[in-house]
């Protein structure tokens, strides 16, 4: 009878909606890489994410030795919107740097995180 059929469909519908998850962008790769020690000071920081981003609400703050913040240019998106490229206004001196990123993926999810790298003396 109809009733059992629509119940069955309701169940299936509800089970299947399990797949409706919004994905969060997370950092999959970066340049310089996480915890790396690089010999040459990079001219830019490249952050590669798992999702496409909206540039308006995506940014990264770079902090150098002595908690001094590093001056950066305006970030841009490359690689179909998945890589956030942050140009550095001045060359980095030797020392430990940390990168705090905050991004908005195109599905409307905010995420943030940080990683660090070292520039060799």
């Amino acid at each position: 009878m109809t009733h059992s059929r629509f119940t069955a469909l309701l169940l299936v519908a509800l089970l299947c909606t399990a797949g409706r998850a919004l994905a969060h962008a997370h950092l999959t790769d970066s340049l310089p890489p996480d915890k790396a020690t690089v010999a040459a000071a990079p001219a830019e920081i490249d952050l590669h994410f798992s999702e496409e981003l909206n540039i308006k609400f995506s940014d990264a703050k770079i902090t150098g030795p002595g908690k001094a913040s590093v001056k950066t240019g305006a970030p841009v998106l490359v690689d179909e919107g998945k890589t956030l490229k942050v140009p550095l206004s001045e060359p980095l001196g030797p020392g430990a740097y940390s990168v705090d990123w905050r991004v908005l993926s195109t599905d409307g999810h905010k995420s943030n995180g940080n990683y660090s790298f070292t520039v060799k003396p």
Partner: protein
Amino acid sequence: MTPDAALILCRFSLYGSAMFLWGASAYLGWFVPSGLAAQVGQQLHAWYRLALFLVVITTALTLPLQAATIGEGWADAFQPEMLGSILSETNVGQAWIGQACATVFLLLSFVVPFVGRRAIALGAALLLISATMTGHAAMNTGWLRPLHRLNDALHLLSGGAWIGALPAIVAILPKLREPMWQRDARLALTRFSTAGHVAVGLVIATGIANTILVVKAPPLDWQIAYQRLLGIKILIICVLVGLAISNRYILVPRLGRRATLGRLKWASIAEIALGFLVLGLVAVFGTLQPT
């Protein structure tokens, strides 16, 4: 309340209302004989009004709530500059414009005389489709993206057609006892069952496709909140299955008895309630990281 929690509540009300408006209107508009449809429509009038009210309110609230979650909290909810940036420079903002257009269409279909239930169904369908303009379909690139969106839309529409039609079924069931409506009610329920086969096929196919595209593994890691909530949801679904089995194999064969119809009606109402509970769970873990 945090903006994130408010946004979850907002989405829950929006999708619940849109699914009812779509499912009930499509069913009454295309599958129920017009005399009976008018009668049932009258009975559901208050629910229609409530659903429309919720759609309008939640659509209006979605944008400021989105601004508050993307920005620094409640302070950003009504900041014109923030709202402007979201509208013009984010995908969720553009999806909201689509949602707002669908809501205006839906509102017009209610207030313009003689456009009928099919226009309401169309407006609600547009609203559900606008939901697929953002969301996890964004995780694909290239040719897969439009396909994923189409799949999402079909999934929401076929699922919503059934869930939303349940209140109309609850209203039609007692009419099997009324000599005046008996024939039409039987016809309406038979058509419901026939159309169900198409919807079942669509929901299953699109659900499997969705799962392949998004989840990629069974939800067995209960350490993760998303998978835990999904597990709870599956338990509720087991209860629903029990209810369905009891309806089909205990109540339906006794349909000749007077008390059975009433029980079947209450069982359907219980299913609607459990369906809402599940929709609520989806609204919560839909915002969590799946793995």
